[in-house]
């Protein structure tokens, strides 16, 4: 309960700071929208020259992209941990975090929320709506709950992977470029996994499971029964990877000695 009220207090403070610089916020949202637009344009143009991409048609690919945007938006609103090493370890900010009465990871999440990224979820829903109308998909009443479950699973997978990588900072404070690399790898998850070769498919499923953020869960809503097994695994993978991340984090915090200066 304490955590929850703290969260809302931080969120409202954050909104106040963003509303002070309205133009800046609007520009940021627009530029997010622009890069999502570019990805959509890419799909639209590619499908002018082909009817299928690895057996998936245009609207299915658009649906997958739209779905991907929702967990990704949640991830980027609440888990801005990509510069953890520079911001907290090297600058010694971690010492301050550890004096706070909440779990250190929660404290960092609170400090780094970027609520405007949630607009990406709205874009995602609109994109999915467009694809759904074209595909004439039908839904059962419980699908909404499955959707929420899948989205949470996807966001937790993203969070788990990026938190795990951030914990490297506890063991080595030297500069690594794994983070930007990971963002680039995550792009692979936006497209159907069957277009890649076997090694990449394996990596995207079990090691860096970005496929669980896009194509696998989306295939449930697209009635692609051959992927159902993977689709239902999404929340489990989310809990698993997030759990591993928490364990790594706690081990890292125990090991943390401060950068010293």
């Amino acid at each position: 309960m304490f955590y929850l009220s703290l969260f809302f207090q931080y969120a409202s403070q954050y909104l106040k700071t963003r509303l002070t610089y309205r133009v800046d916020t609007v520009i940021e949202i627009l530029s997010d929208l622009l890069s999502q637009g570019v990805n959509l344009i890419f799909i639209l143009i590619v499908f002018r020259h082909t009817a299928f991409l690895g057996g998936w048609n245009r609207d299915e690919i658009i649906f997958i992209y739209g779905f991907f945007l929702v967990p990704y938006a949640i991830f980027s609103s609440f888990f801005n941990i990509w510069d953890f090493n520079d911001r907290y370890i090297v600058k010694g900010e971690m010492d301050r975090i550890l004096t706070r009465p909440v779990h250190s990871l929660f404290q960092i999440i609170l400090e780094r929320i970027e609520l405007e990224s949630l607009f990406g979820a709205i874009t995602g829903l609109l994109v999915m709506g467009y694809a759904m109308a074209n595909l004439e998909l039908t839904f059962a009443w419980y699908d909404i709950f499955i959707f929420i479950l899948m989205v949470i699973g996807g966001a937790l997978i993203y969070a788990g992977i990026f938190i795990s990588i951030a914990t490297i900072g506890f063991w080595s404070d030297s500069r690594t470029d794994i983070m930007p690399m990971m963002y680039n790898i995550s792009n692979y998850g936006r497209y159907p996994i069957n277009i890649y070769n076997k090694v990449i498919q394996f990596v995207l499923t079990w090691i860096l499971p970005f496929a669980f953020v896009g194509v696998y869960p989306a295939s449930y809503f697209l009635d692609r029964e051959e992927w159902y097994g993977y689709a239902f695994f999404t929340p489990i993978m989310g809990i698993l990877f997030f759990g591993i991340a928490i364990l790594l984090w706690n081990a890292g915090v125990k090991r943390y000695r401060g950068a010293g200066n």
Binding site: V38, D177, N184
Partner: protein
Amino acid sequence: MSMYLEMIRVRFLMMLAYRTNYYSGILIYSINIGAYYFLWSAIYGGKEEIQGLSVAQMTTYVAVAWMARAFYYNNIDREIAAEIKDGKVAIEMIRPYNYLGMKTMQALGEGIFRLLFFSVPGMIIVALIFPVRFDANLSTWLFFFISLVFSFIVNTYINLLTGIMTFFLFNNTGLIRAKRVVIDLFSGLLLPISFYPGWAQNLMSYLPFQAISYVPSMIFTEGFVGQEIYNALLTQVVWVIILLIPIRLLWSLAKKHLIVQGG
């Protein structure tokens, strides 16, 4: 002149000192090229060619486009914006050189560094993993490098323009971000211009962006042949000349306008 050469050299040496940062960059570019390689293979499916490009040419196109990007890409728009914001630009303006010229030379030093330590080893690695074809003949290589120089100039001009806009907008991080997205899309980095619908191609032929990535990549993959090469190079030259005009205008306007926000 020797002053400007020195600027290129210093920037080159500066980059050289931090060269280990670039090894991971090569990996990142390879990851991106890999993603597009699989994507394009799937898009082609069984098709022989799309818009006159075979799948082998398309793979080469993607690889060359990304590696050429390492050469022409720079952050001088952000550097200029930062120097305007913290007031350093006022000091730079009273120094005995042309500020924009200096920025261009620094960008060139950076570009040459990346060409040698990033694009060349990157290309070798990419060629080992993916079926990229480098058997282009000598004249193709020659035309490619000529057009690469122009693409650097056009891209740098656009960056200068974006940077100068800070004088008028004060905070232009949004503009810089938007410019980057526009260039990725309209320059032909993600998609060859010939894949766009007719009206879009028409529109883009009036914009400078295709001079940045589409032209050199098409020359290298031999998507352009004969007269097309000369026409493409000519468009690049035209843009090199045209873009100078707004830069001159805005710069002289900016000098009168200068408001230092801090310092």
